[in-house]
Symmetry: C2
Subunit: 243 residues, 2 copies
DNA sequence: CCGCGTCCTTAACTTTTGTTGGAACCGGGA
DNA sequence: TCCCGGTTCCAACAAAAGTTAAGGACGCGG
């Protein structure tokens, strides 16, 4: 895969939330990235591990999660191409959660050393990455609200719309449908419900003619009802060069 | 209140997670801070507002929260003296949640301008603050797990222990008891349950002789059972100068 | 083309949590 | 002191979600 393709998604995404200069782009393009292929359902970094690189998703989907003593797993976030899900490991060296692939994925690894150097050299780029980790935190806040306060069908719709809005930015929408490559088990883990209940909820929204979910693909049937159900306000995504 | 008292808690806390130098301390001590008194239950910054300052808690307790369309409120985090709960506003200017006091509080406001200047001048201090927002995010991740996966009594115990471990750092423990100035309504909002159920759960842990909760104060009755119930692993607090 | 495993689906039943409404308690202000 | 508003506490009932178990669909590899 050509080097510019690898970096393209990242730069496109940074451009959305920060005013990125040509100079910054050059800095980022100079970053050495080592690319590796991963199968689906594979751990990239594990809770407790000490990371030495950050992981850029070139292609495929990833998720972050934590597993508690009882064995239950909670999915914390979904990640799509162009994102660096473990940017936080740059300064929080020991991981407090897992990062793993959902689908087969192409991942690019950037060493902490090089990122640190870049950070020292250019406060602007540092600021950009910092902002990136801040929107990450903003998404966690909304995820807390989702799991803590919304009824299960709304939770489902909300996660779907969040993913859709992010996919939109990288041009990955396909009309009124988009990829969401999770099993019902994993949807349950994302919403804080069991797989059985996830199935019930999916059945419900399907019967209500709101949204169809099939083999990792979401198809919106009634946009109005979908929005209404999700109670979605995308401000927390901070998708504009905020002054 | 003397200026060093105002900054003392902040510096103490930063010292915990970063290797702070004397030079850095001087930088921070030079920061102009304007102090204001707030009553209990008062909004400091509101969702949607554009912040121009960050807020250092000098004394008192604060909480961050989001309110959804249905009117339900979710508490996202609790904050104690020495913390800067809205540091994120430095780069995410428009707030995506509320910050408000729980108790009467003394708050110190530091302008974004001055923080930005400091950030440009000293990458070390910038890194320290960045790390601060990263542990903030780590706490959100654990909060997601708490609300998403643990049974209600464990949620309660977990939030209590997290608060205790943080209070410990600033020397605010009082034997086997500590302050947690929330009403049962607010505890419900923190745990993602109703106030009625919060009451049930408190009653339960009280009857089990695990922990007593009374007028904003937690008293641990059986430390072993308490720990076991909470399923607490403090690694996510990143409370040590991680290399 | 068959067999196997994963995922989806559903039913019946249990447990947890929400809802409603009301009583008791408590502290602060008139 | 007494009253008032906000808590705390509780019970009865309703709804949501968890558990267990089992059949069916589907894709993959032999």
């Amino acid at each position: 895969m050509p080097s510019d393709t690898i970096r393209a998604a990242l730069i496109r995404r940074l451009r959305v939330s920060s005013a990125i200069t040509d100079e910054d782009i050059k800095e980022i393009e100079a970053l050495p990235i080592s690319v590796r292929q991963y199968p689906a359902e594979m751990a990239v970094v594990r809770d407790g591990e000490r990371a030495t690189d950050c992981c850029l998703i070139v292609d495929g989907f990833c998720a972050r999660s934590k597993t508690i003593a009882s064995g239950k797993r909670q999915i914390l976030s979904l990640h799509i191409p162009g994102e660096i899900p473990d940017l936080m490991s740059l300064f929080l060296h020991v991981m407090d959660h897992d990062l793993s692939t959902l689908t087969p994925a192409t991942l690019g690894f950037i060493s902490h050393d090089n990122l640190q150097k870049l950070h020292r050299r250019s406060p602007e780029v540092a600021e950009m990455f910092w902002r990136d980790t801040l929107t990450d935190a903003a998404m966690f806040r909304e995820w807390i609200v989702n799991v803590g306060q919304r009824p299960a069908p709304a939770r489902l719709a909300h996660v779907m719309i969040e993913l859709r809005e992010r996919l939109r930015l990288i041009g990955r929408l396909d009309g009124d449908s988009f990829e969401m490559p999770l099993t019902q088990e994993q949807i349950g883990e994302a919403l804080g419900i069991t797989a059985v209940h996830a199935n019930r909820v999916i059945k419900q929204v399907r019967q209500d003619g709101i949204v169809e979910f099939n083999r990792g693909r979401v198809t919106v049937l009634d946009e109005r009802k979908f929005q209404e159900l999700a109670d979605f306000d995308g401000r927390y995504l901070h998708q504009s060069p905020t002054l």
